[in-house]
Each structure stands twice: as C-alpha cells, then as structure tokens.
Symmetry: C2
Subunit: 237 residues, 2 copies
C-alpha cells in the first residue's frame, strides 16, 4: 500500500498544523485584560469556530457569492461580540482581533516535521483559509510550504471535491500522487473518495480537554501518526 | 519616495530570477548530443521564447479559453520541432524537453538576494508560469517564496491588469504596499500605472550577448539594481 509514488503532501491547516483554539483564547484573554472584559474566552473561541462551517455553507450552497475566510471570520466575530455583550472594541480593534487567525501558533512538532517531510515531498496547504491568512501564518511560524493552495486558489471550500481536485491539478499531479494530511476523518474520507492518499495526524486536544470527535483514525488511512515528526518517520524522511 | 510602507515584493520570474535562455540551450544541447541532432540550440531557445507572447495573446484576447503555460510551451515546442526538422523525439522525450522550463537555473544572486529580502518582506511570484512550473523551479533552485502567485492564480496573463491587481489582493494588500520586481521595463510600466512600487533588476544578457532591449531603466522606477543582492541592500535588508 505504501509503495505508491507519492509526490506531494496537501495539508489541512487549522487544527492539523496550528493550534487555533489555544491561540484564539490567548488573544481573547489579552484583549479582555486590556479592555476589562471578563468572559469565558474558551467559550468564545469555541463559538467562533462553531460558526466556521455554517458561514462557509452559505458559499458552498451558492446562497452567497465567493467570500474569503477573513470576511466570514469577521462576520462571525461581529455576531459573537454582540452575543457575548462586548461593545468595547473600536473598529480597528475588531479588525485586529479578526486577524488573530493570521497569528495562530503551530503545534510544537509542526515546523520540524514539515522541514523533514519537505526534503522528499512537495508540501502545500489545502486549507479553507485565504491566501493572505495562510501566508501570514507561515511567515510568522516558519512553516516551509512550497505552495499555498486551497479554497481561494480553487474557488471553493472543502469538502467540495473541486477544492481537492483543483489543488492536485495545480501542482501538475494526479490525486493518487498526493497525500491529504489532516486531523479530521471527514476531510480524509472526502480525499480518499477522490483517489488521494491519506494521512491522519491525531490532535486529541484541538477542541480542548473534552474533545469528542477525531480522537483516532476512523478509516483505512494510508498513514496514521501522533505528530508530523512521526509522519515524517513513517513516510521515510 | 522610498519612505513608502512596502510589505511585499512580487517577482517576475523568467529572466528576472532565472536564466531561462542558458538553461534551455543546455537542455537542447544535451538532447542533441544524445540523439545526434546538430542544430543551433541558441536559435532554438530564442525561437521558443519568441512564441511565448503570441501564444499567451490568444488567451488574453479571448480567442481561446484559459490554458496554462505548460500547455502553451508544448504547442510552441511541437511547432519548433517541425520547423527545425527534428523528428527524433519520442512523445515522452518531447514531454521531458517541455519540462525543461521547470528546471531553469537561477541567476547566481537570486537565492542569496531573495533570502535577504525575505527577512523583511513577503516574497511572491507574479509570473505567467503556471503553479506546478514555479513550484518545481523553486524547489530545485531553493527559491524561498512565501507564495506562488501569478497567471494561474489570477486567471489571466500579464500584462492584463487583473494579473497584478488580483495578486496584491490575494496577499491582502493594496498595490501601493507591493513592489513589482522585474528585468523588463514594460512589466514595471504596467505595474506602476496600477499603483505598484517598482524595482528594475538589470539582466543585460537575458537574451544573449546581443540583447537590444531592457539594457537599463526606462522609467522612474523606485529601485534600480544590477542584482537581487543589490536590491536587498537598497531596500534596507
């Protein structure tokens, strides 16, 4: 099974490569301390992420035209500031908070793992994040991508098949030459159905200490690892 | 003038960062030695590049739908193999020769210059090359791009304005926050007209020893340099 000639690895980013939840909580706590806002920032982070899929679904379904994730994040943020009763943020502070998604910290194994994998494979994002967000993340954290691909370059959001297929095609590769790397079984299920190789990276605290889903592999994935360093070892790099 | 807050540098690639002519000549000579084909490979390289603008013009004008540069290069190659009376190449060898454009050597100052510039600026391609071509070039030569943008991500070929404007927008930046870097005055002229900063990098042998055009700056460009290392110094990195 692993004798396949994989050439490129395509990475989910939020949760798989970066720890969005802890990063958003820290940004919220810093704003709260600065402005005297005392709320449960973990609940706020979870609620923000909770609006992620519904916001993209409006685009996927065609109910609204293409809209990059920065703009969807901002709409969700405004909804949540209202819901949590936060009215102390000036517009520039709202924008600054929204860009917290450009400043997410990587999991500790991400940079060394990607650095090893890159010796042998082409590494690209296949994320629903927009290009500017992904470039800022990578530059700040030192993520060594060969290409920043995904929703914005494909013109549609995962799990729409075109997001996967166009990304492989843009690399000049067939799906069978690419491995989708994700901490989410549903992402891998879609990719596998399209002919991609699959690698599950277990991130059991992505959603906090009480995470219920994606605690282990739920499919016949080509690779399963607890970190990107372990994946690098399993992929012979 | 240089007090502007530039955040990103957008690079023309063919001629500005890589020495396409010498690289194509070398690939041609190697094929010629292998198959016993004795022609003027410099003339062949120049003819191949000579079909570059006409092939894109068919797309720009709308006479044909979007087509990535690899495919335009292949059509031009088939035309030239016929014109030069070369019929010894099997289809796989034609494909291998076409991919010579994925294996172009950088100018000697490119990697050290880009490495210095990247400390301070976001570096992206703004090339008519397709994504796979640019990723292969970068991976082979060690070009440290933060993002691979250009014709394929914008959906149109330079000098169409959208190629420039969409690339800046995909980085989340205004044109005035970006510097177009090119060895070609016409590329900079278009970019400047759209509000971009401009940097001319002089490559007086891009077209060989008898080069006639682009031997020096022909506009009021923000930066003029003889190499990317000199540009790095002039841009304070």
């Amino acid at each position: 099974m692993h004798g396949r000639d994989f050439r490129a690895l395509l990475f989910d980013v939020f949760g798989t490569v970066v720890d969005w939840r802890r990063s958003i909580i820290h940004e919220g706590e810093a704003i709260g301390a600065h402005l005297g806002i005392d709320i449960d920032w973990a609940a706020f982070a979870d609620a923000w992420r909770g609006l992620y899929q519904p916001s993209m679904e409006a685009v996927r379904s065609g109910r609204r035209p293409w809209c990059r994730l920065d703009d969807l994040h901002r709409e969700s943020l405004l909804t949540l500031l209202d819901r949590f009763g936060i009215d102390q943020l000036a517009p520039a502070q709202v924008e600054q908070f929204n860009r917290a998604w450009h400043r997410l910290d990587p999991w500790p194994d991400a940079v060394p793992g990607l650095t090893r994998l890159r010796r042998r494979y082409t590494l690209a994002t296949l994320s629903n994040g927009n290009i500017a967000l992904l470039v800022d993340l990578a530059k700040r954290a030192g993520l060594p991508w060969d290409a920043v691909l995904g929703a914005e370059t494909a013109g549609c959001y995962k799990p729409q098949p075109e997001a996967y297929l166009r990304s492989a095609d843009q690399l000049g590769l067939a799906p069978a030459q690419c491995v989708m790397v994700a901490a989410h079984n549903d992402d891998l299920r879609t990719a596998q159905g399209l002919g991609f190789g699959t690698a599950f990276v277990c991130r059991p605290t992505e959603y906090g200490p009480d995470q219920q889903a994606d605690l282990g592999p739920e499919g016949a994935w080509d690779f399963v690892a607890d970190s990107l360093l372990e994946l690098a070892a399993k992929m012979g790099t």
